[in-house]
Amino acid sequence: MKFMRWLGLTALALTVGGTAQAETVKIGVVLPFSGANADLGHQVDKAFDLYVKLHAKDIAPHKVEIVKRDEGPPTGAVAKTVATELITNDKVQILTGFVFSPSAIALAPVVTQAKVPMVIANAGTAWITNLSPYIARLSFSMWHHGYPMGAYAHDKIGCKTAALAYTDFPPGKDSTEAFKTGFEKAGGKITEAIPMGSPVQVPDFTPFFQKIKDAKPDCMYVFIPSGAHATGVMKTYGELGMRKAGVKLIGPMDLIPDNKLQDMGDAAIGTIVMGNYAVDLNNPENKAFNTEWHKAYGKDSYPDFMSAAGWDTMHAIFDAIKKLNGKAEDGAKVIDAMKGWTTNGPRGKVTIDAATRDIVQDENAMEVIRKPDGKLGIKVLGTTKAVKDECKEQKVGRCGS
């Protein structure tokens, strides 16, 4: 009898232990791998790969299977086709990636219909998270950087007047609008707003900057798509001697992407940006992140804010998988698992706001300096903690719908 009971208990134990079945969660990664913006896609992709490699054991015995597809150009059409097929063909349970806002916008009705969570690792248009209850964002909206910079520029940098210069497309308008709202609230005056051509061509910034130089505002807030334009802006700023003329250069962190900073030379020193990440950010997670990055990708390769966002994105997904014990088929449950999620990442403390499903993070005012080792780096001047997306908080324009 005792033996039978022992046998029964063993059998029961084995069965219970066995029901911790190993699930494989399929994740669809949509990033631009071709064309002019391929390097942006690779910055995020490298972060994804690195996290999965280092933290696979965190969700053991479950596994993730990553299916990657090219997001294509920022028209939205390719991303929509590709992501829809990831859902219908490859049957992924979670979609992530998305560098361009049009991709996420195009996809919103699809993920609502299919009930698949879309975890955005970059796309920054503020009202995207309003488009579907299945969207969560780990990166930023233009307002995260722009709005606090407005107050900071007036109060701490001492800009009484500011000019705006931006690439003429929605992120540019968003970002300068955010800055303007914050700046004017703090008592500053915007002297002019200059659109600088479409995002496709890298323009010659000289006529635009020359006009601003002639107007002599205290500061110049510039938004350009991170990438080819950033170097051009810095070069032109230096060439025209604008710092000497008394016009300070400020902007969101897109102005000094980490992987292009070294190329920018002396012209960049003294630029002040507001952002959530820089390679030099001093916290233990970031140090570890950088060490692992250099180990995996070489000492000349640097992560940037997109990589940091990608890292946290995968972290959030992994934690959700762990919480749901590998059962990620119910999209609503995955999103619920992410609401209120918080962690200390390379960017510092980040949280996903339960109401808006958008990110809440610290914003740092950072100045470009030359470090003792001769390289260019940043110094953190001040940090605003737990910044929310003010566009949605104040219900500005489309954010209010």
Binding site: A36, G197, D204, T206, P207, F208, D214, G227, T231, E239
Partner: protein, 290 residues
């Protein structure tokens, strides 16, 4: 100095620098299209190649900026001559469309190759000290690099003009542009002339590409992105005309700069509006022939 005069000087200076870049890069395209009637849409790819050669020479081999420009022009010019002899020659009698397609195909291949070897991230070049910083004339400072561009452009214009108008070869080219059959029948070897012109034109494009790095940054898309600009300059100036290309470059460069300065909202518009207006009135461009 009165305010509007300062603005005018700013616009003129910046516009002139931009115009010089346009002229240097486009003049080759204008002469080859006028001389041989060959639509070479790979011209932008030659400019891009020139840029990348300069990047490699300055960054990997430590060659100075100005010598790199010269070497790039010579190398790309020589390579283009090879292309001309082997590939382009077969299509002189083909339709415009086929020439367009062949050269666009070559341009795509060039872009893919550049992406493979250099990656999509834009490149910059280290400049010598005398090209950095600016020149102070009291009422305004002028970036040294742009002043250099204007000076270089002026020198090249003078050299090209002299070559075109005062040398034997220049006369032969002009004759061949005017009336190829006649030129051939008086014993001018038009084929060889064309190879030479094509090489020089492509070399100049490479020079322009190298100069553009400091202005716009260099990435593989350069080959097609700026092609539109070159085509506009050539169409507005008139095929096969040095004067025309120069005038078109000046008009377009200055109008574009002025537009961006004065009416930034519609800044990009100007260059296209000017093109349409000029072409509607003079379809063959300023100095083209019908």
């Amino acid at each position: 100095m009165p305010h509007f005069a300062i603005i005018a000087v700013s616009i003129l200076f910046d516009g002139l620098a931009y115009a010089m870049f346009l002229f240097i890069t486009s003049v080759g395209l204008s002469v080859t299209m006028g001389l041989m009637g060959f639509v070479n849409l790979a011209h932008g790819a030659f400019a891009m190649a020139g840029g990348y050669v300069v990047v490699s020479l300055t960054k990997d081999f430590g060659v100075g900026f100005v010598p790199s420009l010269v070497i790039a022009a010579l190398v790309v010019g020589a390579v283009s001559a090879v292309f001309e002899r082997t590939l382009y020659r077969r299509l002189y009698k083909s339709t415009d469309l086929e020439q367009v397609l062949l050269t666009i195909g070559l341009a795509f291949m060039a872009i893919a190759t550049a992406t493979y070897f250099y990656g999509p991230i834009p490149k910059s070049v280290p400049l010598p000290d005398w090209l950095q910083g600016d020149i102070n004339l009291g009422f305004r400072t002028f970036p040294s690099y742009r002043a250099f561009l204007i000076a270089l452009g002026a020198v090249l214009i003078a050299v090209l003009w002299y070559a075109f108008e005062r040398t034997n070869i220049g006369a032969k080219i002009r004759a061949a542009v005017d009336n190829r059959r006649m030129a051939e029948s008086v014993g001018i070897n038009v084929d060889r002339l064309f190879t030479l012109t094509f090489a020089v034109g492509s070399g100049l494009a490479a020079l322009g590409g190298g100069l553009a790095i400091q202005l716009f940054g260099l990435n593989p898309s350069f080959a097609v992105l700026y092609l539109v600009l070159f085509l506009i300059v050539v169409a507005v100036g008139g095929l096969g005309s040095l004067k025309g290309t120069l005038l078109a470059a000046l008009v377009l460069g200055i109008f574009d700069t002025a537009g961006k300065y004065l009416l930034a909202d519609a800044g990009g518009f100007f260059i296209y509006a000017v093109t349409v207006v000029v072409l509607l009135i003079k379809p063959a461009g300023f100095y083209g022939r019908e």
